[in-house]
Symmetry: C2
Subunit: 195 residues, 2 copies
DNA sequence: ATGGGCATGTAACGAGTTACATGATTTT
DNA sequence: AAAATCATGTAACTCGTTACATGCCCAT
């Protein structure tokens, strides 16, 4: 009896990364999977390996040994027809709601307890982090450009730039509204600084 | 020896919800906690109860029985001084990175495997969901208006409207770019439809 | 020789969920 | 009479994580 494949989205992400026509080792697949970090939690190394084993025993991927010239050999995985079929049905199934865990927003929610300077620093840190991700996304898009195979990943990267650009701008605008000692700041339903 | 309090942010969220000066039962606290859903996963009912018990045995909250007139009595919780101190030190500690799990983006990433109509439907569904949340946030802000106690929560709600407004717009703009059969769509580094 | 990249896995743990269990009171 | 709301809790489980364990090859 084969291992059940995990049915979380991350499971399908691992499978999906094999759908671009490349054979990948677990190690390589993990590098690719790290690009998911912009919009989804990247799977841990250990998860990639356990997931690949599961997918293989479910018949969704095949693997073969590649003796390494010089370096250590590796086991590389390839998407099986059953795996592609599984991916297609996955894409036709209902999409779970997006989940966001935004520790900065959570802290802002309890801003009445925080040192105003600290709150500023938290927002600024967040803004800076978003700018970093923006730069990383630039690099990703640069690497994806001109390869039609990755049109959809490139589109997602483009979406990500918009997303993190928005986050950075929001952090800056909110920082400009603090400290919130004057309740009048909130009178305009759309807020004073944007819209 | 008291139970260790959980050290996840959700643990502090439960504690923080008692920092607005109200005494709350576990049940009531859960209603309040549901407002966190816009920017953080709302804790399950069962978590609220177990967390309150932990917080109490750690001395961060106190509780008392309230006999119910007519309806069933309840145990209500109040923030203890040690709990407020704990919240303040929490707010001074490093903020973990935001984590986003965006199943729609994940599916778009593997768009080359999907039926184009299905992809459109997924984006439209996401857009509609964002509009719903936008409306819910309107109601939340309406309820929070005029109460200076909740200035920061109101600010977060305002941020949330900006956030979900951006998400809805992005979903619509991306839908307009599909299907991605012409790689020329991606030639402009900033994208054709925005910036 | 030290550290980093390649390469693979196991074991323990954690933070949270869903499912289950119970029961009064109120509204439809 | 049924369904919703108020009210509280336990138990099982899931989806991951971090920590641990191993070992080769290459550059500094």
């Amino acid at each position: 009896m084969g291992q059940e494949p995990g049915r979380g989205d991350l499971s399908y992400a691992v499978l999906g990364l094999l759908s671009f026509g490349r054979e990948l080792s677990g190690y390589e697949l993990k590098q690719w999977a790290d690009n998911l970090r912009f919009f989804y939690a990247a799977p841990a190394m250990s998860l990639v390996y356990t997931e690949l084993a599961r997918l293989q025993s479910a018949g969704l991927v095949t693997s073969r040994e590649v003796p390494g010239e010089g370096r250590r050999g590796a086991r590389v995985y390839r998407l099986a027809p059953a795996g592609e079929a599984e991916l297609r049905t996955w894409l036709s199934r209902p999409v779970p709601p997006a989940t966001l865990r935004h520790p900065v927003a959570l802290r802002l929610f309890f801003g009445h307890l925080a040192d105003p300077d600290r709150l500023q620093a938290v927002l600024e840190e967040h803004r800076a982090r978003c700018e970093e991700l923006l730069a990383e996304l630039d690099a990703v898009r640069e690497g994806l450009r001109d390869d039609a195979t990755f049109r959809y990943p490139a589109l997602v990267a483009q979406w990500g730039q918009r997303y993190y650009g928005g986050e950075a701008a929001a952090a800056a605008d909110i920082a400009a509204l603090l400290p919130l000692d004057d309740p009048a700041d909130l009178e305009d339903p759309a807020g004073p600084a944007w819209r």
